[in-house]
Amino acid sequence: MVTRRARSAVRRSVLFVVALGLVAVGWEVYKALGPDAGGDIFGWKLIPKTNDRVMPHTWEMFAELTRPAIGRGDQQVWQVLLGYSWYTFQMSVAGLIAGTAIGVLLAVLMARFGIVERGLLPYVVLSQTIPLIALAPQVTAIRGSLDWPQWTSAVALAAFLSFFPITVSTLRGLQAAPAASLELMASYASGWWTTLRKLRFPTAIPYMVPGLKLAATASVIGVIVTEITLGGLRGVGYATIDYSQKVTSQPASVYAAVFAAAALGLVMFAMIVGCETYVMRNRPQEERG
């Protein structure tokens, strides 16, 4: 069983690398064949320029990581990016934790009180249609009035993005306990909260895992968008903006920052997979991811 899982993990990693390689090859082929100054199709400007400023070579993007960072003494770009990533990572984890707490709490309340579900669920869904950027200034205003440090804005917005998948998946999981198991608990005269702890919650865990995976990446996005929207936070989101302004001197550095952001999302995702493997270690094969 373990070997089959390990083999499928290896296969997925290989496929991931191959896909990445194919994208790089496509990029380089277009860069080599495409017109340097861009082009028109039926008078529309649809063909991007392929010069080094717009489309740096893929190897340039990687080489960029080991170049000295501008205005950072003898630090190299990857060291600076690592520092930024760590900063963003901490806020993302805090946002994920807050979002999970809120999401699980809401799900439990909705599962316990049908009236809460009917009353609240539409607003929970509606909340996700609000563009984050529109919300950011308001959150900052409230945070400012509370005199909380600036990073709490990022955590709040990350939590705002990540609580939704958690609420939905947890609610579904809490309602998934089989009728026979619920009757068994009823035959023990077990109350609702005891049944929640002993039956509903353990049943919900496999349902919560995909929600947590979505929430983990959503949390990173929440923090990065906050960094880009509001000044003052020095994380990966800030780096993408900062580097895009230096694009003339080091065109590939923007992509280096984008890689850092992507890597951060992967790390968060991997953390959840790690938790999943641990929590689900005793579950039957077909329930595992």
């Binding site: 068994l184 035959s187 023990y188 005269a189 077990s190 005793n282 579950r283």
Partner: protein, 269 residues
Amino acid sequence: MTDQSAVSVRGVSMVFNAETSGQVDALRDVDLTVDPGEFVSLIGPSGCGKSTLLRLIANLIEPTAGTVLVNGKSAKQACADQDYGMAFQQSGLFDWRSVAKNIELPLELKGWDKAKRAARSQEMLDLVKLPDRGAHMPWQLSGGQQQRIAIARALASHPPLLLMDEPFGALDEMTREHMQAELLQICEVTNTTVVFVTHSIPEAVYLSDRVVVMSAGPGRITDVIDVGLGKNRDEDTRENDSFYKKITEVREALRGAELGDGARGIEDR
């Protein structure tokens, strides 16, 4: 008078979805008394209210009319006191708990301490002849083994009454006969009263002191047959003439009950 009986059902009716187009008379005016130590089977076509009757005894639903007493107490009180254990067709073991922890579930809910729980679950594992499976996960066991664990769980707190709803219905014939013999042994050792729902005539006859024959539309008891095969039944019992006679008697009672609305879902094997 009712205080001496393990189960006493008096004038019980159960109507689902009353006063809607989907109204179902699941049970009408049912009386049933089960004595302590007795093994009683409920048999009848699907939909005749066997599970409903069992669930009423277990206080999982409340009757529309009539009273249900367990050990002389209301069904609700008996439930709160854990006077009975239950086992269903699906073992209903929790995937995330080891076999031993599954057996300990009712004890945990009663607030037993850890050492006492562990000792009792081992005792139950010995009783169902799976002494070294405590650390396994339920899904690592065969269907028959899972069902034994479900029985062990139902009996873990030594309840005087065991309620079973087609517990062997999903097992193959060989395993099923084996489990029947073991269930009899276990009940003998633990002196447990059993109310047992089944589809199978031989199963009902083999296991029971009395077979309660039910019919549908509305669900009711049409016959009660004393089996009288004695307490010491074994594999040879299945070959006895008196065993076959009783099977025929139950079959005819069922056929008689079904005249008019057609026998469905009765296993003749």
